[in-house]
């Protein structure tokens, strides 16, 4: 089920009530586990089996890793986990993509290959929970962490509903220890958790779905040729939409976990105030970028084997990171562009090691970063390369036949919301939400909370799925 649904409201109220009952801790954990399976089954019950497969394989792989005496045996257990998880991901997420590309390749060499119809439904959140379970086996393999003490704690780590389908991608060392002792949210945690959930849902329902998504759809999902204003407005709208959608999910998830007494990591740190792309990736989808760094970039050699190897590892990481987002070459292009940006930044920093920008240059570099990030969003949002080129040509004023697409209201709402998001990120770039909230007058917090909740109610969200569910 999605957070922005009436079903979730009732579900979450039941979970909170159950969790507050004076029951033994093990019973409470079993309740949470069952609730999490129900949460997942509410999309498509048979796919719970995939969760079980992923859970059981990694549980036994980690047990095998601990018991193994020889390096080769350890290696085999690790490979079993990686192959099982990537196999699931490959079959369900990339099966059709691989088949289509193979067919195209055969066609290119003159072989007419007609594969059987292959209709696969993508299990929601599979990219997230396979990465979470893989990090468990890999941490044990890399001797960074001991395996969980019992299957219940481990299964709950994999399945815990706040992070299950769209992250934050949690590591076992972040969550499993929290299951060791009885936890119940304090009154303050519960209320602040509810406030975070309100903020997250406001981002999703009001800003992303009600206002920004439409402007992006009208340009990206239509046959019309956009001019510069429409192309930029739609792309900026998407930059705001995807932030509000995904950061909104993460904030809601963090709030939901906090209401139950659990802590989840930050996933976003005001990314549109990033200055440089290294900075951007320290602020955007932090749990994915750090996962890719720890389990892909560093094992590929990281920055320890010379410049050439570093650039190669960087590009490989970003290309695969792009592919992780979706089975389409446009996502690979998105990742590739980010890889090029990161490589260029690295080269520039080596060349101008002593450069320190002044305040104006600092802001200018930040705006340049945001602009270039928007160029990458074109490939992320467009369903095809041809559409991406049309929008890019529009952004650079090259669509002579363009006619206006977005209404004055759309343009104003995109400018106001996205301008507000970017400004907020700059004001908050060196702060935490908690520090600002702690300094705010209680009356102001009360009014803001009420207005956010009221806006959620009157926006009448249609329960649209979060964008990242498809990844």
């Amino acid at each position: 089920m999605v957070f922005n649904s009436l079903t979730f409201v009732v579900f979450f109220a039941c979970v909170l009530a159950l969790h507050s009952l004076p029951l033994p801790w093990t019973v409470k954990k079993i309740n949470l586990l069952i609730a999490s399976y129900l949460f997942y089954a509410a999309w498509n019950p048979p796919f719970v089996i995939l969760l079980w497969v992923s859970t059981v394989v990694d549980w036994y792989a980690a047990q095998g890793l601990v018991k193994a005496q020889r390096a080769r045996t350890r290696h085999a257990w690790m490979l079993l986990s990686v192959i099982a998880n990537l196999g699931l991901l490959g079959y369900f997420k990339y099966g059709q993509f691989l088949l289509d590309n193979f067919t195209s390749l055969m066609s290119a060499v003159g072989i007419a290959y007609h594969p059987a119809h292959y209709d696969i439904v993508l299990p929601v959140g599979i990219s997230f929970y396979t990465f979470a379970t893989m990090s468990y086996t890999l941490d044990v393999y890399l001797r960074r962490a001991a395996p969980a003490q019992n299957l219940l704690d481990y299964a709950l780590f994999v399945t815990f509903f706040p992070h299950l389908v769209a992250g934050p991608i949690m590591r076992p060392t972040e969550l499993v220890p929290q299951f060791a002792q009885a936890r119940r949210a304090s009154g303050e945690q519960l209320r602040f958790g509810l406030a975070l959930m309100t903020l997250g849902l406001f981002n999703k329902i009001v800003l992303a779905d009600s206002f920004l998504a439409r402007a992006a759809e009208r340009v990206y999902d239509s046959d019309k040729i956009p001019g510069a204003l429409d192309a930029w407005a739609a792309t900026l709208a998407f930059s705001g939409q995807i932030f509000c959608d995904f950061a909104g999910y993460s904030t809601t998830a963090i709030g939901a976990a906090l209401c139950l007494g659990f802590a989840m990591p930050d996933n976003f740190r005001f990314p549109y105030a990033a200055v440089g792309f290294t900075d951007f990736w320290r602020r955007w989808h932090i749990t994915l970028s750090s996962w890719l760094r720890d389990y892909l970039y560093i094992p590929l050699g990281g920055n320890r084997h010379g410049a050439r190897r570093t650039y190669a590892a960087l590009m490989m990481t970003m290309l695969l990171g792009g592919l992780w987002h979706g089975a389409n070459w446009t996502f690979v292009a998105w990742g590739g562009l980010h890889g090029v940006y990161l490589a260029a930044e690295r080269a520039l920093r080596a060349r101008f090691a002593n450069y320190r920008p002044g305040p104006l240059a600092f802001v200018a570099l930040g705006l340049l970063t945001y602009t270039l990030v928007n160029v990458t969003w074109v490939f992320f949002r467009a369903k095809t390369f041809s559409k991406a080129w049309i929008v890019l040509r529009g952004m650079f004023g090259q669509n002579a036949a363009a006619k206006p697409i977005l209404t004055t209201f759309s343009l104003i709402s995109v400018a106001a919301i996205v301008g507000g998001i970017v400004l907020t990120h700059w004001l908050m770039r060196a702060r935490t939400l908690e520090s600002v909230v702690a300094r705010a007058p209680a009356v102001a917090l009360c009014m803001i909370w009420a207005l956010l909740a009221f806006a959620i109610v009157i926006a009448q969200g249609a329960g649209n799925a979060f964008i990242y569910f498809q990844f």
Partner: protein, 377 residues
Amino acid sequence: MHSSTSSFDRGAVPDRYARQTAADRPGVAQPVPLRPVPAQPWGRILIGAVLLVVLLVAGWEEYWRAYGVRPSIANNYGLWAIQRRRIDAGEGDATVLLGASRLYFDIQLPVWERLDGRRPIQLSFEGTSPLKAVEDLAADPEFTGRVLIAVEPDLFFSGYEYRAGAIRYALKESPSQRIGQWLSMHLIEPYFAFDDPDYALQTVLARQPWPARPGLHSFIRVRKLSETEADRNTHLWSKVDTDPEYRALARRIWLQNFEPADDDPSPAEALKIEKEQIARMAKAVAQLRARSVKVLFVRMPSAGPYLEYEKRNFPRARTWDALLAATGAAGIHFEDYPEMQGYNLPEWSHMTRAEAERFTAVLYRIIQRDFWAPGAR
């Protein structure tokens, strides 16, 4: 990926809630995260916020009720899916109504039930050609009943689908969506008038008198026209009849459609589309009739400029007559029956509720007399 802070960054100013993220800890096991709660009187803040939300929502509700809106069931895909499932849950021999808004608003299910003894299944959707829904029924062997298909020419012969996703939604509806639909129908929709897409925040803001963008044709979107009940029995909203200003607005919205638009298909393309729609309908009807399903078309009444537009763009001989000839099915055209004419259609397309009740009885009797009674033609 570089793991240190950008050298361009002046660095964060530490505060008492500052904490590291995984970005700051490369290549190590990540510890249990910190999740501090800002020091504030959260209990009082929550109580104040709840009271304020209650007041704001009450004010919003009162505002829309004063405008004439009453709580009604949301006319959405979930509601359609509930009715669609009836066919596969033991009511395969039912009478199914398939059309666009005229069949949807102008047939009153309680009147039909009173005359027939059974309540039909209403699967019409406003602004949407019924073709795909007919094809869906044709492919469903569970359905062996009777089907009344409404022809609203501008939608039927153009294949236009404002509500294109209902069938797919019904097939793919998740348990969570089903539960949400039930909860909404029982806890929200019967009590809150503002819970209507026409009064959603974005919709209300978007229809304010913003300056027109040069070069962009401004188009007023269709406003609320109907009220729906739990089994999709629907009628024209009384405000369309009783509020002259609102009625004028509804008429103005229709008039927009009668003017040529940039994205209209060429006459040749329009003809091709018409023929495709008729051919597909003929195929679906043949499938239904092969299972002994009784199929009957009905051309629902329209009036004024709407009727003129339909006659001009979808002449009867080229569309209605061709449809009946291609399908071999029977049809009722309102112009052929004096008792189907002369109704009050405030915005030229739909009847008032009272008129719809009268019309339902008339249409039902015609159908029984001439088509569906034993021995009828």
